[in-house]
């Protein structure tokens, strides 16, 4: 079972104020080839137009993400039934995921609530009476079937107070619908979709990598679907590959560090024997992790990237394969090409993360011609057909063909026509980011600048952007300010942006699996969210402030923890002053360069682990400031074995700030302080106190009493150890019922029960 932190609640809070005009239900649509997902967040009531939405839900497999459904009124049920019945008519299969307890109630109560679909996962409500919190635990029918079937879910430790929390429903009632359906597993395409697009964890068994292969003349096409992990069949896959190799990565799910290592090893094995290796439909996560400049070379080229786009008009979110070669001139400015919504034809907004957008300009321009790009779709269809009917494209979504040999001849003209449409749309390419981040009417007339000519190190003028490029073994990171009324203000912002980009470039270069597993999750979501919010609405003061403050915090943390490897001031600066309708405005640029020695020192410093009391830590990485802006120093737990800190309740990804009031500055200081303090407590007794940052909010202190060894009197008898009453666990106030003579009853130990 998997805990999900999205629903941890204190005792009931006041309801959200009713905002007139605010939508009660937000519906988001995602689509990727044959799989589409509709996510519902809010209340389903009479205002939900089920039939209308259902008519638009065309997909081979339709996934309904119900994790955000808060309430369903009885009239909402009627609309829902209309929706689900209509949608079921348009999809080959219907799958319900993350059903909230409210949805499970409806499934149990209302006939045909799932519309013939199957429930793959749902939340079971848990409650802790000790700390009065509620939590939801995600159950999956493939993984947790035995527990579901037994209708008994064991008590589990509360995430807040570690006491026991219980399943707050009647099992026989709650599981009645799900038990009535069969246990099933998701198809690989759906697994990959959920894992990659929704960051949805499906079971390991389900995500096992599948490879479909098509060989045509000297071209070998390999379609990979599933997770990149230790099971990656590197040697088997590399065997016999030659000529042109196309690796279709569109269905790749999660990328484990060990899988990344295997992948690099695979590429290293085939690069010398293949004429060209083209990576096609690479998802953003793949680009971030496995398409750094070191991964690509004249033989191994990135051909197309799957970019996420969202339509502000109809709310559809979908992935679009962007041809790197065709759009190279746009991508090199860290901007995405314009794409039209397949549903409503309006212009879509790309919301790819800053990391991907800053990596794309560093890619070499692929040498493949458009014919090769076109042929990938044909090869993919052929591979899916060869894989069997279960995985073949749905009739109607691809032209039907009798035989594979004839298929290409039928498909190619159609694909060429489609491509022509896409290319025609490409004629309208605009640099959306530049336009969006500039004031309406542009900057105005250039009136002053700090140098006669704009320096060559400035490759982009997208306000508030930051990019890094390699110059030999050195790194050059350039930050651009947003448009500012003050020159000094703009210069500071540009410097912070450059330092943030430098920190990100360092993160990409740290390959330690432990580090990546523990440190990246601490800040990635916060960083992506803030940058995406700014991307979506560059005019938003809040979004801009969030990004700016986070970058400033990162810059401070980088300077504080770099040990002098990062220059105190930018290597180069440049600014421009404009006179426009809004008055005087400034745009500043800053460059930070790091030599190979500094880079190596920084990577070593941040990734070097230290261990004490069972915990392995690394020094605080500056990008963590995106999430915890007030922290400049500390140590991140990347591994935790049996020991006092584990017993204390610490966990991986916690940031240790202090031990017994003494600040932890880096990994080494953590190890020293922890060992020293624990040693002293073992000798004299007392309380071990560790201050950590766990989640957003104030740091939290964990404490435990450590008893000294028993004293032995001259006669050899053991005396009772002297303990500080205030330091006993019972004084922590957690288990107050036991303290007042409880603990006699079973269950929740609440004397009122």
């Amino acid at each position: 079972m998997q805990s999900v932190d999205r629903a941890v609640n204190r005792p009931s809070r006041p309801s959200q104020p009713v905002v007139p005009g605010a939508p009660k239900l937000v519906v988001e649509k995602f689509a990727d080839r044959g799989v589409a997902c509709i996510r519902f967040v809010g209340t389903i009531d009479e205002s939900f137009e089920g039939k209308k939405l259902g008519a638009t839900a065309t997909a081979d497999t339709l996934v309904l993400d119900l994790g955000g459904v808060k309430r369903i009124s009885s009239f909402g049920i009627r609309e829902w039934i209309d929706f689900v019945t209509t949608a079921a008519g348009h999809a080959r299969s219907l799958i319900l995921i993350e059903c909230t307890p409210k949805v499970v109630d409806q499934l149990n109560m209302v006939a045909n609530f799932a519309g013939g679909g199957r429930v793959f996962s749902f939340y079971a409500p848990f409650r802790c009476d000790y700390c009065n919190t509620e939590q939801r635990v995600l159950l999956q029918v493939d993984r947790d079937w035995e527990a579901i079937k037994s209708t008994r879910i064991a008590e589990r430790p509360c995430l807040s107070c570690k006491e026991s929390m219980y399943f707050d429903e009647d099992g026989a009632t709650f599981f009645s619908y799900v038990i009535g359906q069969d246990r099933f597993q998701l198809e690989p395409e759906v697994e990959a979709f959920l894992a990659a697009k929704l960051n949805y964890a499906v079971s390991d068994l389900n995500r096992k990598l599948r490879v479909d292969k098509v060989v045509e003349d000297r071209t070998t096409y390999l379609r990979l679907a599933g997770d990149l992990d230790e099971s990656f069949p590197r040697d088997k896959l590399a065997e016999g590959l030659e000529g042109t190799v196309i690796l279709d990565l569109g269905a790749i799910g999660k990328i484990e560090p060990v899988g990344a290592v295997q992948w690099r090893s695979f590429i290293a094995a085939i690069a010398p024997v293949a004429e060209r290796v083209y990576l096609a439909s690479a998802p953003p996560s793949f680009v971030e992790k496995l398409c750094t400049r070191d991964d690509l070379n004249p033989v191994v080229q990135l051909l197309t990237v799957l970019m996420p786009y969202s339509c502000a008009s109809c709310g559809t979110t979908s992935q679009h394969a962007v041809d790197v070669g065709a759009h190279y001139d746009v991508l090199k400015f860290a901007t995405a090409p314009e794409v039209r919504c397949p549903g409503c034809k309006q212009a879509m907004q790309c919301y790819a993360g800053e990391t991907v957008m800053t990596l794309l300009p560093t890619m070499p321009r692929p040498t493949a011609g458009p014919e090769l790009v076109k042929s990938i779709a044909v090869l993919r269809d052929r591979a899916l057909l060869a894989a069997g009917p279960r995985r073949a494209p749905k009739a109607g979504t691809a032209p039907p063909v009798a035989q594979p040999a004839a298929r290409a001849s039928v498909l190619v003209p159609i694909l060429v026509a489609l491509l022509a449409i896409v290319l025609a749309a490409g004629g309208y390419l605009v640099y959306q980011r530049i336009a969006a981040r500039l004031p309406a009417g542009g900057l105005g007339a250039l009136t002053h600048r700090s140098a006669e000519v704009r320096p060559a190190w400035i490759a982009s003028e997208v306000p508030a952007a930051a990019t890094c490029s390699e110059a030999g073994k050195a790194l050059s990171c350039v930050g651009v300010s947003s448009v500012s009324a003050r020159q000094d203000d703009a210069e500071d912002e540009a410097a912070d942006a450059a330092l943030d980009a430098a920190a990100n470039a360092l993160a990409v270069r740290i390959t330690s699996p432990k580090w990546r597993l523990a440190v990246l999750p601490v800040y990635t979501a916060a960083r992506d969210a803030k940058l995406a919010a700014f991307d979506r609405d560059p005019t938003s003061t809040i979004a801009r402030r969030d990004v700016r403050e986070a970058r400033h915090a990162v810059a401070q943390a980088l300077r504080a923890t770099s040990g002098g490897a990062v220059p105190a001031a930018p290597t180069s600066r440049y600014w421009e002053e404009y006179q426009g309708a809004d008055g005087r405005r400034h745009l500043a640029f800053a460059q930070i360069t790091l030599g190979a020695t500094e880079i190596a020192k920084l990577i070593d410093g941040y990734a070097q682990p230290a261990s004490a009391l069972g915990a392995t830590v690394v020094g605080l990485f500056p990008l963590i400031a995106w999430r915890y802006p007030k922290i400049e120093r500390g140590a991140v737990i990347v591994g935790l074995a049996q020991g006092p800190l584990q017993e204390l309740g610490l966990a991986e990804q916690y940031v240790v700030l202090a031990i017994d009031g003494r600040d932890v500055t880096d990994a080494a200081s953590f190890a020293k302080l922890a060992d020293d303090e624990h040693g002293a407590l073992i000798e004299h007794g007392g309380t071990l106190r560790v201050k950590v940052q766990i989640a957003d909010g104030a740091p939290r202190e964990f404490a435990t009493a450590i008893k000294p060894p028993p004293e032995v009197d001259p006669a050899g008898a053991v005396k009772r150890p002297r303990t500080n009453p205030a330091a006993t666990p019972g004084a922590s106030g957690v288990n107050v019922w036991d303290k007042f003579g409880g603990g006699k009853g079973s269950g929740r130990d609440d004397p009122t029960q």
């Binding site: 009931s12 009124s73 009885s74 049920i77 009627r78 109560m109 209302v110 609530f113 219980y166 707050d168």
Partner: protein, 306 residues
């Protein structure tokens, strides 16, 4: 009022008999079902566990004027079949288990009303010292605000979030019924039932009165519309259909599952209908139950019509 009680558990039987006696009723307490028929001459009410529901239903069918009362520790569905079959059984009292009597206050309230007492005020459902708020619902726009206000009121008690949400949902359902289903025009035709999506503004004489109250042990939500059109079959059939499998009934403009929502969100439901004058629905929730217990605790249902 003469009451015949069939209860196989001696202790439970004595407690129930005492409660009836306290209201002035004369009581015959029996343990053997075979003795019931002989004791019913002149009786006004026959009471038993749903386990003996068949016997009660048979006797009320056979004797005009005799009314049946059931108590149960089992799901409502089992008792409901007797309410569907016999119009003389209007009351089911939930109890914790077969060793426990129904709630004392509920039983005495039932006894008083069977003897002719009028419907109690909201305070009758709660202990002395309760707190209540009145919520005005005049238009569609007020509906969501009212549900949010109910949620806030319950949340302020420090109860689990899900309980507060559940009660807000219950409020929403009851408001929808009072606003859209109840009002009729001068010709007796439903005014708003056909279109639940329409924004409506109720005239002064159409407005329902909504109250939510608590004594810290129980929550009460009461809504009263000035039409009195709710029929027994709306309650019993709606509940029976919902509990039997949740088939939708679109014939009245809604989904026909409102009764099921009300049942699932409460421990006791009271329907008081004064034909063509008012319909009052009171839902109670026992705050000492957690949601797991709520699901398994037997529930009460009372239907009164003047």
């Amino acid at each position: 009022m003469q009451v015949v009680i069939l209860e196989r558990n001696k202790l439970v039987g004595r407690k129930v008999a005492r409660l009836f006696a306290a209201t002035g009723a004369s009581v015959v307490l029996l343990e053997d079902p075979a003795a019931v028929a002989a004791a019913l001459d002149g009786a006004d009410v026959v009471c038993a566990d749903t386990f003996d529901g068949e016997l009660v239903a048979e006797q009320v069918r056979a004797r005009s004027g005799l009314r049946g009362v059931l108590w149960t520790a089992e799901p409502m569905r089992r008792s409901l079949r007797y309410l569907v079959e016999s119009a003389a059984i209007d009351h089911v009292l939930g109890r914790r288990d077969f060793e426990s009597p129904p709630r004392a206050w509920e039983l005495t309230m039932l006894a008083r009303r069977l003897a002719g007492a009028p419907a109690p005020p909201l305070g009758g459902y709660l202990d002395w010292g309760f707190a209540a708020i009145d919520i005005a619902v005049r238009a569609t726009a007020d509906r969501d605000a009212a549900a949010a206000r109910i949620q806030d009121f319950v949340a302020a008690l420090g109860v689990p979030r899900r309980v507060a949400e559940m009660f807000a949902e219950l409020g929403h359902e009851l408001i929808m019924n009072a606003m859209y289903d109840a009002p009729i025009d001068a010709f007796g035709r439903p005014k708003y039932a056909a279109d639940r999506k329409a924004d409506i503004v109720l005239a002064d004489h159409e407005r329902p009165a909504l109250r939510v109250a608590t004594d810290g042990t129980r929550l009460a939500l009461q809504i009263r519309d000035p039409f009195g059109r709710l029929e027994r079959r709306h309650v019993v059939d709606g509940l029976a259909r919902g509990l039997a499998g949740g088939e939708l009934d679109r014939s009245h403009g809604g989904a026909g599952l409102g009764m099921l929502v009300c049942h699932n969100a409460s421990t006791a439901l009271f329907f008081d209908v004064a034909a063509n004058r008012h319909t009052e629905v009171t839902a109670l929730f026992d705050l000492d139950l957690n949601l797991r217990e709520l699901r398994t605790h037997a529930k009460s249902l009372h239907f009164w019509r003047q």
